[in-house]
Symmetry: C2
């Protein structure tokens, strides 16, 4: 034991690529079932981010092909008609973990700069096959082709092949192929469920899915209206911290501190900036570069304590709207009653967010469990399938709603849809499967559900009354046969 | 819209420090309550890793002091008598995200190389104060002092101050202080619960906790036996993948491929290596450096399909053992019945693991909820407090056990303890709060619980019988007064 007290440890740093390769389960790549599902998801979500968020009606083709007779190797290909990528960023976008265009304040499905790289890593560790990318942007004269793998130790792309050719028509978009070990038989139901839930909230997309059995599953576009695309915004002061202020100080060293505040934050103009700096005891005309750490800290605290700020702008978020939810639920379940609501923007920790809720009742709506309705959860337009038990929506449904108030007793033919959208979804993990219990969000989900449930109740009460009337008429008819 | 179709994106890569600063919630730093709790936890777990895993009986002092009259700034200090750190690694250990001594195959509480850096980051973004470290290793003549912060963009430590002095006595250990914005009033119950649950499984530790109100909470050492410390092992071939083989190929380029297998894996000797290579169709005497990717892949697949491998060694894991669990539960609850069991080692994905379970019943044991016992979850000797609803242990308890079989109806005065230990715990996130539903682990938890519950049942049945006898004696006494 005296030997071990010596404590000779082996210290080392690993790259983010090695980190996420080592702990791939936390990003949803825990086994061949989940990995196949997650790969489809990551490619598909990137395809949608490259289209609807940029005003393009999405046309997406997904194909999964088995490519080895002995091993269960699958080639997953997703093609979109999106904005494409400039050729110089392709290697990093697909081969460098934590490289992204989505570290901006704007609603997107991706947010971690991780998704496609996890799929590439999983592919190369199970099958050794590189990722292949074909892409072109609108207006570009050429199409570009890359074949690459990730150097895990360095977190760098290794380009194995590249090519380019002239475009004959103005195609723009991206085609990505990844080959990985998967378990199609067991992943199939999850992938199917994911897609069918996804099209509920993207009825403006054309989706074609070609399965390994050569089945073609087609979700045709149902409406041609896109939700308003989100617009990038500046950070809201409510989300400020000392680290952010330090970075801004470096970037705006030659500005006055007042200008630093006005230029870099939304909701901050002349008078707010002056007032904040007064409270912080900092001269507004002082050059930002000369601010000491204690001054920066006083500014941060003054901002946090400020009551009169305009709430964050909602331009950066893009809800679905009532029509899309109602259309989606109707198409999916053919219910006898359907309703949806979009709440007004709210804020948590400086991030704007909007909650939407929908209900479908009766008709083709599936029967629920004994203690709650069927729940369809969405975040920034992506369906969440796993970890329902630890999601804030489940907490609201199980703890915050008095179902009897709405004339509902379970099991019931009732589906409830909840969509949270924000510049930053507080996911509990990088696998993007459940939303944390943030009080501000929980409250909005409750209010949104209460709103749609009130309307459902009116419908149910009226229906019960009409049935009662009918029953009476029948009863009456029995006793007064001459009327019948 | 044609404007947005252009899709001018801002691409960038962020460092792992910026990534985890940005998404700190996923590591448990979502607000001042959680951050204070998580900081104590990370420092405390590092202190224990530096002691018990190296054969040292832990002496740990935790103190939390409020250091600002207006803002809720707290200075958290944790002191241990552990192995200390060499001065040249201190800056990276505390100032570089993903730097660790625990990326080895051996049971430890840490595994992500992230914990203390998250606390340092949170401290500097909320209060601007750097981390302070004082450390010395056994046998070293000097003590070293560092004050440092993290450069978030570069993911590098920035040393603000350093010093060193001669030791007067042979002290070894580490003292770490971090100042952060916290919410003591609301974090207190969680921190208290964490510590009291922790000492249940480390009765061999001496823990002193000084609160901001200057209360002293003392958990004295209850036994002086340490569990056998874990020993580092080589990877088991069942966990192999192509990426790992490629890295080994680079490292052992001049060895023959047979030697590569024998040297780098446990459970692989002459005959296994030869047999694997035969099946893969690779010449055993071929130099590893000359292997092609297809050959590496064939070797990986041959290993995975190999049936006769010895299971992974359990030397690398260190269970608590029956005595420690029984002592811990008895001390905590003074129950009328207590029992515990340590199962034999098992494997998932190439990782050895052991499940232990304990029950405490009656006496001072608290009353449970309506549908399940009070659950104490542990992983590699750390208590898990959050996300109970998505933990594999909860699934077993709610779905896999027929409680009526064990004469138990809820609510009951019943506490159930489950400890999973492994060279790699399949946590669902880097916050280390819940264990994923891995079938092999789920099965072992069920079997462990069934074992202790069977013994509880025997006790309960005997007790019921004795009470029945007593009741009869009393009844008898009533009717035959001359005996009384
Ligand atoms: N189909 C696509 N079309 C256009 N750009 C894409 C596409 N797929 C990936 N990208 C680019 O690659 C980046 C990295 O993707 P990914 O690793 O999935 O992370 P994230 O989606 O979180 O940003 C994206 O931010 C985007 O800029
Ligand atoms: N109290 C301590 N005593 C000795 N070494 C420590 C201590 N705290 C941290 N370290 C070292 O710093 C490294 C990084 O710690 P941390 O960031 O918490 O990650 P992890 O614990 O997952 O390795 C540890 O691996 C360990 O080598
Ligand atoms: Mg993505
Ligand atoms: Mg402004
Ligand atoms: Mg640690």
């Amino acid at each position: 034991m005296s030997n071990s007290v010596e404590g000779v440890e082996k210290y080392r740093a690993i790259s983010p690529a090695e980190f996420f390769y080592k702990y791939r389960e936390i990003a949803g790549f825990s086994n061949p079932v989940r990995a196949l599902y997650q790969t489809v998801r990551e490619l598909y979500e990137n395809a949608l981010d490259a289209t609807d968020a940029h005003g393009i009606l999405p046309d997406v083709k997904i194909s999964i092909k088995r490519v080895d007779e002995i091993q269960e190797y699958y080639r997953v290909t997703v093609e979109d008609n999106g904005i494409g990528l400039p050729p110089d960023v392709v290697p990093n976008a697909f081969g460098k973990v934590l490289f992204s265009s989505k570290y901006v304040l704007k609603q997107t499905r991706g947010m971690y700069g991780l998704g496609v790289k996890m799929a590439v890593l999983y592919g190369q560790m199970t099958t050794g096959r590189p990722v292949e990318v074909i892409t072109s942007k609108q207006g570009f004269k050429r199409i570009y082709y890359f074949k690459l793998r990730i150097d895990v130790n360095k977190n760098e792309p290794v380009i194995l092949e590249r090519g380019t050719w002239r475009k004959s028509r103005d195609w723009h978009g991206t085609i990505v192929s990844i080959t990985l070990e998967g378990d199609w038989a067991r992943a199939k139901p999850k992938i199917m469920e994911y897609l069918s839930r996804s099209v509920v909230v993207t009825p403006y997309a054309n989706i074609i899915f070609l399965t390994p059995e050569n089945e073609i599953i087609y979700y045709p576009r149902a409406i041609s209206i896109l939700p308003r695309p989100p617009v990038e915004v500046k950070p809201h002061p409510f989300g400020v911290d000392l680290e952010m202020m330090k970075q801004l100080k470096e970037l705006s060293a030659s500005d006055t501190v007042k200008d630093l505040l006005i230029k870099n934050f939304q909701s901050v103009g002349e008078s707010t900036a002056t007032e904040v700096l007064n409270r912080a005891g900092v001269d507004p005309s002082k050059p930002a570069g000369s601010l000491g750490e204690d001054e920066l800290l006083r500014i941060v605290n003054a901002i946090k304590g400020f009551e009169n700020l305009r709430p964050p702008s909602a331009k950066a978020i893009s809800p679905l709207g009532r029509e899309i939810i109602v259309t989606g639920l109707s198409r999916m379940f053919k219910p006898e009653f359907v309703e949806a609501v979009t709440r007004r923007p709210q804020v948590y920790h400086g991030h704007p967010f909007i909650v939407e809720a929908g209900v479908a009742y009766g008709g083709g709506t599936p029967q629920s469990e004994m203690d709650k309705p069927v729940i369809l959860r969405y975040a920034n337009k992506i369906p969440l399938l796993y970890d329902e038990g630890s999601d804030v929506t489940t907490f609201v449904i199980k703890e915050d709603i008095n179902w009897a108030n709405y004339s509902i007793a379970f099991p019931a033919p009732l589906v409830v849809l909840v969509h949270v959208c924000s510049t930053k979804i507080p996911f509990k993990g990088v696998g993007k499967e459940s939303i944390a219990d943030v009080p501000e969000i929980r409250r909005e989900i409750r209010l949104a559900l209460m709103e749609v449930l009130r309307r459902l109740k009116i419908y149910l009460v009226r229906k019960a009354r009409e049935e009662e009337v009918k029953r009476r008429v029948v009863l009456l008819a029995k006793y007064i046969p001459e009327i019948a």
